[in-house]
Structures are given as C-alpha cells and as structure tokens.
C-alpha cells in the first residue's frame, strides 16, 4: 500500500489488494489523527473569532494536544473538516498561513446547520478538526512563474493560504497579481490583509465591487469583466480562480478568451462531503473524489469530468 501524499489514488500502483494484505494498523496516517483513525477528529479549542463580513467569521483553533498542534502541517489549498460534536462536520479551506504553528484557521460563511452552530461558538468552546485533506495547489511546480489570483467573495478563503504561501516565498515567483471582487465593500474578507497587500510594491492588487458605492475608490464591475479589461498576458502565468460558481464559470471563459490554456488555469471545488477520505461516495464528480483527488483541479482535469460540478 502506498502512502505517497495527497491525491495518490489514481494512476498509482495497480497491484490488486487482497484482504489478507490489509493489516489493521497499516494505515495511511495522513490527517494528523490519533491511532490512525481518520474518522476521529482532533479536539481543539477556539482561541479567536474574527468577524469578517456580516455573514463570515474566521475561527482560529488550537489543537488541545500540543504535540498535534506542533506537528500540524498542510499544503496551501488543502481543506479540513471542522465540526461541532453533536451537530456535525463540514468542509472548509484551511486559511492559516502554511507556516503558522500556533493555530489552524478556517473562515466560515453562515449558511446551513453546521455553519450556523459554528457562528454561535465563543472563544474557549471545543470543536473537532480532521485535517488536512485533499490535494493542494502545486505551488512547487509554479516556481518561476507569474501567479494571477482571481477571486470573489468567500472564494478568497480557498486561496488565502496559497496567497500567503506565495508571498512568503516571494522570490520563487515572478509577478503576483490579485484580482479580488465582492458585491459590496463590507463583503471583503481579510480586509486587514488587503490593507497590508496594498502597501506592498511587489504585488499588483485590483479590488472591485459589483455596483457603485459611495466612497469606493477602486474598480467597479463583475470580476470576469474586470479580468477582461485587465487583459493579463498568459505568458508564463498560472491563473487561479475561486468564488461563487457563476463567477468561476465566467472567469474560466474569460481566461480562455485571454489565451490561457486549460493546463495553466486552476480552480478549487467545493462539494458536499461526509467522510472526507474518499470512501463515503458523496463528493464524486465522475471518477474523481473532490475530497482526495481535489479540491484543486486544473481546468484540463475538469474538462475530463462529467458536467456535475
């Protein structure tokens, strides 16, 4: 049984496993979980809650087991299951810096049962975390390239860790551009980071809101339209987009118009998930499981899948 990191499911060794080979305990211990049980969440404590927008809060969670906290690592773009015992779990992008050792961070939009319960948490409350899961962005492969982030609304959460990673390893990448849109100025998450990004001269930041608003001094227009106006060159550039499905759809069309190939274009998918470990069968899109084969996919990979996004 191979244990070679994330998304190793397809195309790896095809030797058939017989039941006799499956020895209890011979687990792929990847998700920072005790005793190799991928269903058992690590208990953590909410140490800080940052209100981002009227519907989004960011939760900083510290694992109760200091060893687990110390050894926790993840790749930018990976996700985790954050849950409350007695309510349930849901999948969220990990939004802390990959180098962060003190806590793990998730940004949660209030929408359903679990997210509503999460929004009701206070500092000191207990949560369960199963992380990291899935396959992150191939940031290593992107070294020496221009990176273009195109994101809208809560989609910024999925790209947050990756942006931080590329900024922390700034010299590994050429030009970095962030196009970030929201419906209204109050709906930008991580505004405190945006303020920091604006000060940097090694980063091009374009902010846009959907409709005119008093006092707004940056762009106005839907993200895909602004993207077309910006007309970034596809030359040696990786384009990464995340946002509401409708924004992603038109951003991908815009990328294609601008001459980006499907191999140059990446997005990260969100699907309803339960187990998060490629077993329960819920998040499949054709033969791919978003929880283990994704959530990051290149457009080239997505084009191979059935129209069930």
């Amino acid at each position: 049984m191979s244990d070679n990191g994330n998304g190793a499911g397809c195309g790896c060794d095809k030797t058939r496993l017989t039941f006799a080979d499956v020895v209890p305990g011979a687990t792929t211990a990847r998700a920072g979980k005790k005793a190799g049980n991928p269903y058992l969440p690590e208990v953590g404590t909410v140490i800080e809650i940052i209100p981002e927008t009227p519907t989004i809060k960011t939760f900083r969670v510290r694992f109760d087991d200091p060893e687990v906290q110390k050894n926790f690592t993840f790749a930018p773009g990976q996700v985790g299951q954050l849950g409350i015992f007695g309510v349930g779990e849901a999948t969220f992008a990990i939004t802390s810096r990959p180098s962060e050792k003190e806590f793990i961070q998730f940004s949660v939009m209030r929408a359903g049962e679990v997210t509503r319960a999460l929004h009701n948490l206070s500092v000191g409350d207990k949560v369960g975390v199963r992380a990291p899961m899935g396959r992150g962005f191939p940031v290593e492969e992107w070294k020496g390239k221009n990176i273009l982030y195109v994101m809208g609304g809560i989609g910024s959460a999925a790209l947050k860790a990756t942006i931080e990673y590329t900024l922390e390893h700034r010299s590994d990448y050429e030009k970095i551009t962030i196009l970030y849109g929201a419906t209204h100025p109050t709906n930008f998450t991580y505004w405190y980071d945006v303020e920091e990004w604006r000060k940097r001269d090694d980063l091009e930041l374009v902010l846009t809101i959907d409709r005119e608003c008093e006092g707004w001094q940056c762009d106005v227009g839907l993200v895909p339209h602004v993207l077309e106006r910006m007309a970034p060159s596809p030359e040696n550039t990786i384009a990464i987009t995340c946002g509401p499905p409708i924004m992603i759809k038109f951003a991908l069309i815009a990328f294609e118009k601008l001459g980006f190939t499907p191999e140059q274009t990446y997005t990260t998918l969100e699907k309803r998930m339960k187990c998060g470990i490629g077993i329960c069968g819920r998040c499949n899109v054709g033969p791919k499981y978003v929880c283990v084969d994704g959530p990051v996919f290149s457009l080239a990979e997505l084009k191979e899948l059935p129209d069930e996004l």
């Binding site: 790896c12 496993l17 687990t27 359903g112 000191g124 339960k274």
Partner: protein, 390 residues
C-alpha cells in the same frame, strides 16, 4: 485441496459447533422473508430459496453504526492549567471552561456468515478495496475490524434464478472469490472445500468425512451445470469505454424515466457502500454515527446554497451505473457488481440493470432499435434527443 463431506442432517450440529466460538449469521425465514440473522438452534437455515432478501453486508457494514460517543462538561480553569488562561484573554479566571470527551466505538465480535452465496462474498471483496485503503487511500478501521473478525462460509448455487447474471460480471455460481470455505450441494449433503486458514480452522468439525471421488465428481458436475444456467445478457467488452466516451448520451434520460429514486437497488446491493454521517446530541452527551445512504436521493448531493450537482434524475442514474462499471473499475481494477440480481428483483419499477448495461454498451445509434421499447410513442423520444445532441 482435500475436499470433505458434510451430511445434510449434520448441518444443525455443524452450525452448533460454529456457534461455540463465534456468532453464526445464516439465512433464515422470518416474516415470510429469507434474511441473514444470528442463528440459534431453533431456527432452520434456509438454503432452498436462492438469495436472501438482502445481502449479508449489514453484518460487516451495518446500516446504522455508532462510531463516536462524546460528552460535554465544564471544568474550572485551575484544573486545566495555563492552556486555558491563554485561550482567551477575556475569559474571567473563575468562568468554567467547556470540555469534551470523545471516545471511539468499534466493536467487532467474531462471527461466521454461513450460507451466503458467491455473489454475496464477492460483494465483500469489492467493498474491501474501498474500505481497505487500496491504492493509497484511507483505511477504514470500523469496516476492517469487523471484516477481519468475519469468516465467510459460502454455499454454491445449484439452480440460479432468472435474474442471476454473476457469470456476466466475472463471477460463477460456485465462485471462490472472498470465500473462506465453499459448500457445494451434492446428493445427501455438501462437498466442503476450505480455501483459507480461517476457513480451515472454522470448518474443523468432527462430523466431516473425506469426500468420496464420486461426491467430488458430482460437485464438479453441479458446478459446470450451474454455470450453464446463468444467462449472459450483456457484454463487458467495451462497456467501460462506452460509458466514458458517451457520457452525454441522451439515452440515459430515457433509461431512467421509470426510476422513482427510491434507492431500493442501493440498499439490497451487496456492494453499494455509500454512507452519510450524522450527529445526535441529548443534553450533554451525544454520538456520531454513519448510516447507509442512497445516491439516488436528490438531497444526497444538494449543497447548502441549494445548488445541486446532480439535481436531474438522469445524472444520479448515470452516476450509479457509471460508478459500478467505470469509476470504481478505474480506481480498483474490478467491477462494483457481482451479478446477484437483487436490484432487478426488488426494483418497484422493474428497471433491469442488465438491460441498462446492454443498451449503454452499444453505440448510441444502434441501441434503441433493439432495446425494450414498450410503445411507439416513447420510441420517438430518444431520436429527437439524439438529434439535438448531434
């Protein structure tokens, strides 16, 4: 391998022998149905009726399975030391801090499943791939604990039903795959072949005698005859590629028309394994459990926003068949179907997987003329749909 012989009248004694060291699960008649249930001496094992209503999968992968228990509490900060103090700057020193204790439940009593059929046993080997962490995936500790504690004593089929199609999917009415021992019915009893160490030790029963050459010959004969009795209603050749290449095939819309998304096929299937996870909480204690799910249910994939990747029925229908004959084979090199035919028997709208696969395994333009088309009016529909596609 040396074959043994078990006399028909010794079967209860044999089961009683098994029951000394393990829970025995066997097909018995209850409420007019044949179901796999814990065997007790007063229950008669039902081997005449071919196929229990449900496969024995629930004894390894229970329909509802509690796996976590938790208990909330509160402690004063002194008890938990400085971790609490820096957890919150605002928390007053004397405010009790929440705690939660989490415990895993994983019970796997030793059990012997007797009287399952080769297709049922293959269902387990197919699920083993998924839960067993094959190909670098995760290892499921709950399924595997029970699977490891389970011995499968398979009884070969002599008279396959009209709905059986095990041979079409690479199985056999006397298939050994997954079996720890196989019992082949012959005159007056069973020829018993042990196939694994587990089967060897489990079937070590003093009432077994050496099988005679005549009995062995009869068993071989039974096997050959039974194979001939299973129909070959479709071919696997090219099926995966047809499913893959014609993903937007409009015939999916037509084939699924009768489906009412009830999911019966998924529950009776020996290899369907999709599940959901839910929590319950009463006051301060609760549990997390997993429960069989049904990919035909529209809310299976429905997201909080209301967006549903498989809102249309044909997509869910396509997903189940593609999963069994394309997605799963691509990952695990085998099929996710053992040809038991339960989904055919129990479908309330008589959808026949063999027909679906026969149609989908042929090129789009030729299939419909041969497919079972009840009325002329309906037959026109796919032509229009295909026209649009082109």
């Amino acid at each position: 391998m040396a074959a043994k012989f078990l006399k028909q009248e010794d079967l209860p004694a044999f089961l009683a022998h098994l029951a000394k060291s393990a829970r025995v699960i066997a097909p018995v008649k209850t409420d007019g149905l044949v179901q796999f249930e814990p065997w007790t001496p007063e229950k008669q094992v039902e081997l005449e009726v071919l196929l229990a209503k449900q496969s024995p999968k629930e004894w390894v992968f229970p329909q509802t399975e509690k796996y976590l228990e938790f208990k909330y509490g509160k402690v004063m900060p002194e008890g938990s030391g400085e971790a609490v103090a820096d957890a919150s700057e605002n928390a007053a020193e004397s405010v009790p801090q929440p705690t939660v204790e989490v415990e895993v439940r994983n019970e796997a009593p030793a059990q012997v499943i007797f009287g399952l059929r080769p297709c049922d046993a293959r269902g387990f080997t197919q699920m083993d791939q998924v839960f067993g962490g094959y190909g670098g995936f995760y290892f499921d500790p709950f399924y595997n604990a029970r699977r490891a504690a389970t011995t499968l004593l398979v009884v070969a089929c002599v008279e396959p039903r009209s709905t059986c199609f095990c041979t079409a999917v690479g199985g056999c009415p006397a298939g050994r795959e997954g079996a720890d021992a196989i019992f082949i019915p012959v005159e007056g009893g069973f020829v018993v072949e042990t196939l694994t160490e587990k089967g060897e030790s489990t079937a070590a029963f003093s009432g077994l005698t050496e099988a005679s050459e005549a009995q062995k010959a009869q068993a071989a004969d039974m096997e050959a005859q039974a194979i001939g009795k299973v129909g070959a209603p479709f071919t696997l050749e090219g099926l995966r590629d047809h499913l893959h290449d014609n993903i937007d095939d409009p015939r999916w819309r037509d084939l699924c028309m009768r489906c009412i998304s009830c999911g019966t096929c998924t529950y009776v299937c020996p290899s369907c394994y999709c599940f959901s996870i839910n929590d319950e909480l009463v006051e301060s204690t609760g549990e997390r459990y997993r429960v069989w799910d049904n990919c035909f249910n529209p809310i299976y994939t429905e997201e909080t926003s209301g967006h549903n990747p498989r809102a249309e029925k044909f997509k869910r229908f396509r997903n189940r068949f593609s999963h069994k004959f394309w997605y799963y084979p691509d990952k695990y090199d085998s099929l996710l179907c053992s040809g038991c035919g339960r989904c055919i028997m129990d479908c309330p709208t008589r959808i026949d997987i063999r027909e679906v696969l026969r149609v989908m395994g042929t090129a789009p333009e030729t299939a419909f003329s041969q497919a079972s088309r009840p009325t002329e009016a309906k037959a026109a529909a796919p032509t229009q749909a295909e026209g649009k596609e082109a």
